[in-house]
Subunit: 272 residues, 2 copies
Amino acid sequence: METPEASMHVFDAAIALSKHDDNTYTGHTSAAYGNMVGPFGGVIGATLLNAVMCHPDRLGEPLSLTVHYAAPIADGSFSVHARAVRTNRSTQHWFIELIQAGEVAAFATAVTAIRRDTWSATDAAFPHVPPADSITPTPAIPAAAWTACYDMRFIDGGPGTPDTGGHPSQSRLWIRDQPSRPLDFLSLSAICDAFFPRIFVRRPKWVPIGTVTLTTYFHASATQLAAQGNSPLLGVARALHFGKGFFDQSAEVWNADGVLLAATHQVVYFKE
Amino acid sequence: METPEASMHVFDAAIALSKHDDNTYTGHTSAAYGNMVGPFGGVIGATLLNAVMCHPDRLGEPLSLTVHYAAPIADGSFSVHARAVRTNRSTQHWFIELIQAGEVAAFATAVTAIRRDTWSATDAAFPHVPPADSITPTPAIPAAAWTACYDMRFIDGGPGTPDTGGHPSQSRLWIRDQPSRPLDFLSLSAICDAFFPRIFVRRPKWVPIGTVTLTTYFHASATQLAAQGNSPLLGVARALHFGKGFFDQSAEVWNADGVLLAATHQVVYFKE
């Protein structure tokens, strides 16, 4: 007989939390989502958001998530502490800490909100690109285990596709969990951190890098994400500025029908 | 004889903090920076960042700032509590709370960093626009006192300039403090929240709005900002998506020579 863990998707196993009390959970890093140094940041962010999703006092659905990667995270277990800082009628503001060896190694703020249908418009431009099934998946990068957990199909700006579509640091790619998994806020939050650091697109030189902080705005509802199923998403990422040891990059995540699911921004440390 | 307060720039008076101990300060809302309801958010964010700037343990200069506008702020005094959550060799992560009537009304996270010269490039596009002195300042909006604290000169997407330069929700404007004031991280952080809510550019209908959370990435050093003096800055703002009661907008802030000083992103509540 299978244990519950064995039947779980690798992503769900990676972000799983054991509850101590409403505010306090225990988690564990996942070898499957290992990065060159420490865990893939997208799974850490999703784990912090998961503490909010698990919280019995949560109001509404995720609207924003800001993750601070404050220090290296060692392989092994950690505790997560989540608290609602302020609860209003339709919005709620959260502070979540990941604690390892008695120190905060990562933390996040989030907003959850009850969302109602209103006037709607999208001003970001949906790019017209070839469909996912017409593009060959990019092989995983052995030194970054987490890349094997995503099916990534680059239109441009990817490994082996040095053309960047006219923008010096742009990538456009179809992406989904590998093996496939129905989309939800947790997996979408991780996908928002799955864009390769723009500096590797911008210049052909390997340097140490690390995301310092990442902010994601969610535009879709849980219902819309569920309807997405496990279809590939279209990501478009580009840098704004590199200098004095840091750069920032922004990305949009769309479904194949041109619905903007999330926008995400991050600042990244680099050496040299 | 002037009191020190009377000789202060109105912005410095608005963000002034009295120190209780290294982590705890008292501030007061400013009538000059009043908004339609409560204070202008840019000054609240600058006040929270000011607690970090005043802190004796601060390492380096601001790299990022995320402000959560968690609840309405009443006219009057408030306390500010700032703590370094994690300090590394060259980066430091902060959590700052604004407390009024015993509850958190706003809070922020920030990263400060020691920055060193590295390879540098700007991928965001600097727009070529007419110089500031060729454009008439836009009159202040009487119902939003804070607008009188900025000299704003719209190239497009402003009140009375309905053309939006080909993008449905874009504004481009020259902006500086009014009266003029040498630029620093504090005034720059406030300017990053001075772009009108994009929904008012996008459709000609007044609805209640409020910024929920705002993130700014600083690309300039203190030295670069000081060299800027009180010259006008060029801001370019646009929305990404409106729907289900919220929209997000992004902006870049440049100097007249095409140096990107900051990039900023926010999500805003709207009714209907």
